[in-house]
């Protein structure tokens, strides 16, 4: 025995609209003038048969229309069949928290249905079958958990309504945070339902399921998701210079068990290129596009693949600001023509000529000749001992590096300790000088920092002195070249938003054969290239806080627009030579424009978290239950709802009824045209 219940019962008030057809009929009925007509009986005889027919026709039409309105009201109330009887009534009230994975991967479409829609349907089914008096919460799992209502609520219909209206996000999921919130809401008493694709990349971080509550894990996938994604797209160098060759390097991930060959397309303002990339099963491949920008300013573009089950990660956005030139300040106290100084060789190696090093603008200054203007505008500081820096110059350089400028300190000379910049947290401190007549070799670590240099290139080079130092193990990652005694020879370290390179190598002829070796200028340019890679490192993802910095030009207001051209709220964190903004968390991936006085000052690329592209599920058996917790894995509709308790939507039948009535009325009106006699107002018996 079943009875219909309603998802939106308050819409049943619409049943009152059943009177509408009657009202409309009454209001629009003909209001004839009264005529005392002597041959009344002949008129009655003439109309006799048609009056009854017309009355029947009107009544039938009104019945159809009233039924139509009633069914529409029922349809909007979304009826469903709910079990009644002992089984349903005997159930005690429950406390449940439903976690819906709303991360990007839930946008994947399987068999024509998005995973999130499946999760919504299954969660809605749970809500509909809750016994009276139950309390429930629904949590959308994104970058941060979002409860639809702030606490457990008995207002199940409202919760259901919110659930139906909710949408999957473009964010990475954080199941741990969602579980913690659910446990907190249940307060140790109740059941947590999790509707998710249980991506390994998200769920392997969950060490243990919450304790004290029952957990029902409900995978919503129907088999493997065929997904190939662009997981990274970057420019090398990250801040290119006009005319400089630039590589756009894309990493494509194949999340299928078969090798694939994919076409990758680059679309950027001046470029539209395609290339093919071979991808191993569950592996990555790189596609490289070579471009060179002819104009300075902000540029934006995208790298895309052919669409698949999860379309949202098939496109990745890339932005850059093309500079006119790279301002390198070489600070040294040595004379320019002093070939016994390291600066002599550094200068020539960096910029032997304008043609050999396009885009590099080298400015040589003595320590005492540095002015504030030079220090505030330089992109790269090259400090070559001997160099004596004033306290103010040291302070400005440290601040600029923290703000994003680059620093190379060549530590070969008596003033070298002053070039370490303790404020920038160097990876080592200089101790005594080590000399070796035969020269020491350096070893290179395994990192692929340099594109064109290999360890073998350094095997023949010998260095006769160096500053002894001992970088701590925690900074071993900064080490690029090292001497046999463990001293760092070359390090590269992040420093604030900038980077710092410390070169502990003798750069004069008496220090070895390095400056005469072809590897020397190559090393310098590779260092410059490495320094100019994006120091910020992280990508901007939807749902996560982010900042953007643009050069201040004029006094116009700086605004941020999303990919659809809608303004995005942004808070100004700092302003000066550059303006630093903290826009609201991005909702959708794409190119966000930062504008000042209507002109684009910079672009920011918001990309989906590459972790979401790995759609492989984890083995749920590996999830550890918390203390006093029962974990059940349920596939589909099994287990939780028995057939007798299962609700079934009733609205499709009603929708069908509405359609039949509409078609019936149209057919009725077409086949049974109005006999043109109007309705009988108050039929009375004919008088005489």
């Amino acid at each position: 025995m079943t009875w219909p219940a309603f998802i939106n019962p308050w819409l049943l008030t619409g049943l009152a609209a059943v009177s509408l057809p009657l009202l409309v009929h009454w209001l629009t009925r003909a209001r004839p003038r009264r005529i005392a007509f002597p041959p009344y009986k002949f008129l009655v005889e003439a109309c006799a048969g048609q009056q009854a027919i017309n009355r029947l026709r009107t009544i039938l039409l009104l019945i159809i229309r009233c039924l139509l309105v009633a069914l529409l009201a029922l349809l909007f109330a979304r009826p469903f069949i709910k079990p009644v009887g002992a089984a349903a009534n005997a159930q005690p009230a429950r406390r449940v928290a439903l976690i819906l994975d709303a991360s990007l991967s839930m946008r994947a479409v399987q068999q024509g249905v998005p995973l999130f829609a499946r999760a919504q349907a299954e969660a809605a089914e749970i809500l509909r079958t809750l016994p009276a008096g139950s309390e429930a919460a629904v949590i959308l799992e994104g970058a941060s958990p979002r409860p639809l209502l702030p606490a457990l609520s008995e207002n199940i219909p409202a919760l259901h309504d919110l659930l139906v209206k909710s949408q999957a996000t473009y964010e990475a999921g954080d199941p741990g945070a969602a579980l913690t919130l659910a446990q907190k809401l249940l307060d140790g008493n109740g059941t947590i339902y999790v509707f998710s694709d249980f991506q390994k990349s998200n769920w392997e971080g969950v060490r243990e399921l919450p304790g004290g509550v029952a957990c029902r894990l409900r995978p919503v996938t129907a088999g493997a998701i065929e997904n190939v994604a662009v997981t990274e797209a970057r420019m090398v160098p990250a801040s290119p210079i006009m005319g400089e060759p630039v590589e756009v390097i894309c990493t494509v991930f194949n999340c299928t068990p078969r090798p694939r060959e994919e076409t990758v397309r680059l679309e950027m303002s001046e470029f539209n290129q395609e290339t093919r990339v071979m991808l191993p099963p569950f592996g990555t491949g790189n596609a490289v596009f070579n471009v060179s920008f002819s104009h300075a300013g902000p540029v934006a573009g995208s790298v895309s693949l052919a669409p698949d089950d999860l379309r949202e990660d098939d496109t990745r956005y890339v932005t850059a600001t093309v500079g006119k030139a790279l301002d390198v300040v070489l600070v040294t106290d040595a004379d320019e023509a002093d070939w016994n100084s390291s600066a002599f060789y550094i200068g020539r190696a960096l910029a032997p000529s304008a043609e050999a090093a396009p885009g590099i603008h080298l400015l040589r200054r003595r320590g005492q000749d540095l002015d504030r203007g030079i220090l505030e505008t330089a992109d790269v500081f090259c400090l070559a001992a001997p160099a004596t820096l004033s306290g103010e110059a040291q302070e400005i350089i440290a601040r600029r590096v923290n703000e994003g400028a680059r620093l190379i300190s060549f530590l070969d000379g008596p003033t070298a300790p002053a070039l370490l910049f303790p404020a920038l947290n160097p990876p080592f401190e200089l101790q005594g000088t080590v000399t070796s007549e035969s020269g020491d070799a350096v070893t290179m670590d395994g990192r692929q920092t340099f594109g064109e240099l290999e360890a073998a290139d350094f095997s023949t080079v010998r260095f006769r002195r160096h500053f002894q130092n001992r970088p701590p193990n925690s900074r071993s990652g900064d080490l690029l070249l090292a001497f046999p005694d463990g001293s760092a020879a070359l390090t590269i370290s992040p420093a604030g938003l900038g980077k710092m390179v410390l070169v502990n190598l003798p750069l004069t002829p008496d220090g070895g054969d390095f400056v005469g070796h072809p590897i020397f200028p190559a090393l310098l340019h590779e260092l410059l290239r490495a320094l100019r890679q994006d120091a910020t490192g992280g990508i901007i993802t939807p749902g996560a806080p982010w900042t953007v910095e643009v050069p201040t030009a004029g006094e116009g207001a700086v605004t941020v627009e999303d990919p659809n051209g809608k303004p995005v709220k942004a808070e100004i964190l700092s302003s000066g030579r550059t303006t630093r903004l903290a826009p609201a968390a991005a909702l959708v991936p794409g190119i966000y424009s930062v504008k000042q006085a209507g002109a684009v000052a910079a672009y920011a690329a918001v990309n989906v978290d590459p972790r979401e592209s790995d759609t492989r599920p984890m083995a749920l058996e590996n999830l550890k239950p918390g203390p006093n917790a029962a974990v059940t894995v349920q596939h589909g509709e099994e287990g939780e709802v028995s057939n007798t308790q299962k609700t079934s939507d009733f609205w499709p039948q009603i929708a069908m009824g509405v359609l039949i009535l509409i078609a019936g009325e149209m057919l009725f009106l077409a086949l049974w045209r109005s006999p043109a006699t109007a309705s009988i107002a108050k039929p009375r018996e004919a008088g005489s």
């Binding site: 004839p32 002597p38 009344y40 002949f42 048609q50 043109a676 107002a681 005489s688």
Partner: protein, 288 residues
């Protein structure tokens, strides 16, 4: 009235008036033209005994002549509620008013010829009755009756004609102005009664054009004039059926009249009553 100057109401049969007049009568009187002999019976005017015949046959015979007698005309005007109709859209004089004009004109013609005129206003019964007389003051009395008549009540023409027949002393012309909407078997029996007494019957069937063709309105609530029935209808939708039904009604009345040797004239209230009456009399004289 100018239209009626040249016409006269001539009875189809012999006149049976009180006084000598211009119309031939079945009464054998003292007029000039010999008609027949008849055996004397007590009470006969002794002056009509033909003494020459008595001398030859020793029996008393009266000489009979075709006397020229004045015409007796009885007008019966229907003043029931249905006669009040003057149209819903196309306004004309009400049917009663039109009938009154017809009756007045007819009365004038009758009295102009020195004939006697009687008038009865009827609905369910005879309301007012003006006995036949030949003076001009009779016309004034008739006009007073016609002018003061107010339509109302139901109709029972059959009963009314029976009453009129009972009040008539001699045969003559009976002119009935009505819409004939409630004629029944009794009515036709009453007509037969008149016909059997050799009355010359003239039926003026007064109709409003909108009764023949329905008012030209989109929708109307039609109300019975002599009852309380009403209903809504769109005239355009039922016009054809109604017209058919009303024509059948007119044909039925006309056929019944013709079968009984009565003259039936369809009088539309939109027509000039005097021109209409003239045409009627011209047609009557021509035997149509």
């Amino acid at each position: 009235m100018e239209a009626l100057r040249s016409v006269r109401l001539r009875p189809r049969g012999a006149a049976e008036g009180t006084f000598a007049g211009p119309h031939k009568s079945h009464f054998r009187g003292t007029a000039v033209e010999f008609a027949d002999y008849r055996e004397y019976s007590p009470g006969d005017d002794i002056r009509l005994v033909d003494w020459k015949v008595f001398a030859r046959t020793d029996r008393h015979y009266l000489r009979l002549y075709d006397a020229e007698r004045n015409l007796l005309t009885y007008m019966v005007v229907d003043k029931s509620g249905s006669m009040e109709f003057s149209g819903a859209v196309k306004r004309t004089p009400a049917k009663l008013e039109y009938s009154a004009r017809l009756a007045a004109a007819l009365g004038y013609l009758v009295l102009r010829e020195g004939d006697e005129l009687g008038l009865s206003m009827v609905d369910a019964q005879v309301n007012q009755h003006l006995p036949a007389a030949a003076s001009w003051s009779q016309l004034n009395r008739a006009l007073d009756l016609l002018g003061n008549a107010r339509a109302g009540g139901t109709t029972n023409l059959g009963a009314c004609l029976e009453q009129v027949f009972a009040q008539t002393k001699r045969r003559g012309v009976l002119a009935l102005m009505s819409d004939f909407l409630d004629v029944d078997e009794r009515f036709w029996k009453a007509v037969d009664l008149f016909r059997s007494s050799r009355f010359d019957l003239m039926f003026f069937h007064v109709v409003h054009p909108e009764e023949m063709d329905l008012p030209d309105v989109a929708a109307a609530r039609f109300v019975e004039t002599e009852g309380n029935g009403s209903f809504n209808a769109e005239p355009d939708a039922v016009r054809a059926l109604y017209r058919q039904r009303f024509d059948a009604f007119l044909s039925e009345i006309k056929a019944n009249c013709q079968a009984r040797g009565c003259d039936w004239y369809l009088a539309k209230t939109s027509d000039d009553p005097y021109g209409f009456l003239r045409n009627c009399f011209l047609a009557r004289e021509n035997g149509k």
